[in-house]
Amino acid sequence: MKLIVTRVLSVIPVLFGLCVLSYTLLAMIPGDPITAMLGMDATPEAIAALRAKFALDEPLPLRFISWFGHLLIGDLGRSIQSGRPVLSMVMTAMVPTMQLGLAALLISLVIAIPAGVISAARRNSVADYSVSLISLAGLSLPSFWLAILLVLFLSIRLQIFPSSGYVPIGEDPVGALRHITLPAITLGVAMAASTMRMTRAAMLDVLNADYIRTARAKGLPFRRVVWKHALRNALIPVTTLVGLQLGQLMGGVVVTETVFAWPGIGKLTVDAIFARDYPVVQGAILASAVLFVFINLATDLLYATLDPRLRKRA
């Protein structure tokens, strides 16, 4: 319990730091968003009115305090471009991003867990070397290159999947599945590469443990020992890595969503940067970072729950 409370409290200064950094950073953006919004022909009066409306005339610390006060009541401001509330834009964009993240996670686990287990169970075999090579290649593969190649072969040449776009799952489940496949593979491959490595390392540790030797000495079949006894314990460190990766996925989605025109938080961020839409960029970056912090927190807490040694130490 003490461990959980300490870990949860440690998030508070980090969250405040995130707010300060994301606000200060974006307030430094060169170019005036008002000029970008009204165009070069805007009258000084119109510019002044809009600057006052968005409080751009006030000093930075005052603007931050005002922004932070609004943030505490869930008000992230309004988009300079569309006038829509930023929170609503961010929440809307989070849905496709979460769907993409979960689909990528599923793909990565389906590939990585069996590959990692087989690699460890048949150490120094051709299968082991192949898995190591594939995981290293997967780690080095730039996701946007993989995305372009997937579009080239599976979309343009074979015409199996659409090259871009998003269909809500409630409207057309089959269409949604077809649209999510390529971006999910793009993100899933990089995740699978690290998970494969971690599963192999964790399985090797566990396979050398005394209780596994005992199980083997009792005459249990090797396959059963590997998949039933060893994998269950090896999955504990893998869970941590998967959780951390889910957080890091927030970075990968920026590029993937841009390539596949996926209307998630990554695309929202990039579009807002080009439109110099301060509040949206701030809101989107902050929301992604906060989600990242909470995923890491949840991973730590889950790890503490899964590993009895950690509970005992606390």
Binding site: L21, M28, L136, L141, P142, F144, I148, L152, V254, T258
Partner: protein
């Protein structure tokens, strides 16, 4: 009798391991391409030839041309220079700032450690590419700002690794003895702790080179990195999307360049870790 320096012995051991040697070979190709690029290709990277637009690979243009008739090989070689420059300087910058932060935090501990590490935690709390996007958006897209952005996102990683190793070394008897002898904190940190805390930092720096090159290519791909006319692998891939059904070589070659370079640094970093980092 003379003994070979430790660095020579390390290089020999890396070369003897076939996997590390492969990584070193890939990295060496990148360095050679970056240094001798202009000599290796007979075309300037930004020289347009409107009579030879979207030409497939041939004897005249080994890797074909792009939509403006620019030689793809020359642009990839020029891009190698940008990738290497951004990778090396940004990781160097991260070491320049992260190393002293980690050293001071790990050695002094207490409040200094808490304040410095909470600042690093905030930077680590941002997904790397998003922080880099925010920084380049704030400072403007350019080569220098790309380097700054990547150095900033790498600094907390170097600081964390240095801190962990410093804490480990600081608890050793010889450091305690130095303290008892009355040496100043600065002297102990720089002369006794730092030399023995460097190996994991070196390993981490080599692995960060790979991620820095990928981050640079991401930023260029999104149009927020190094700006035209300077060719970068990321921006070449972005341009390739428009012609993907007519000129596949525009996507194949820059992507392969990034992949092989990052693979080289990853393999090299793995090999270095196997030999230098006692924790592994």
């Amino acid at each position: 009798m003379t003994t070979a320096p430790a660095s020579h012995s390390l290089i020999r051991r890396l070369v003897e391991d076939s996997r590390s040697a492969f990584g070193m070979a890939l990295v060496s190709i990148l360095v050679l391409a970056a240094v001798f690029g202009p000599v290796l290709s007979s075309y300037a990277p930004d020289a347009a030839d409107f009579m030879a637009t979207l030409a497939p690979p041939s004897a005249d243009h080994f890797l074909g041309t792009d939509d403006l008739g620019r030689d793809v090989l020359s642009r990839i070689l020029s891009g190698a220079r940008v990738s290497l420059l951004v990778g090396v300087i940004s990781v160097g910058g991260a070491v320049l700032f992260g190393l002293p932060i980690g050293l001071v935090a790990g050695y002094l501990g207490g409040r200094t450690d808490a304040v410095l590490m909470r600042c690093m935690d905030v930077l680590l709390a941002f997904p790397g590419i998003l922080l880099a996007l925010g920084i380049t958006a704030a400072l403007g897209a350019s080569l220098t700002n790309t380097i700054i952005a990547i150095a900033v996102i790498n600094t907390p990683t170097i600081a964390r690794v240095t801190r962990a190793q410093t804490m480990l070394v600081s608890s050793l008897d010889y450091v305690k003895a130095n303290r008892a002898l009355g040496f100043s904190n600065l002297t102990i940190m720089t002369r006794s702790v730092l030399p023995n805390a460097l190996s994991p930092v070196l390993v981490q720096a080599s692995l960060l080179l790979a991620s820095s090159i990928i981050t640079e290519s991401y930023l260029s791909f999104l149009g927020l990195g190094v700006q035209p006319p300077t060719p970068t692998w990321g921006s070449m891939l972005r341009d390739a999307i428009s012609f993907i059904d007519q000129a596949t070589w525009l996507a194949w070659f820059p992507g392969a360049a990034i992949f092989l370079t990052v693979l080289g640094f990853n393999i090299f970093g793995d090999g270095l870790r196997d030999r230098l980092d006692p924790r592994d």
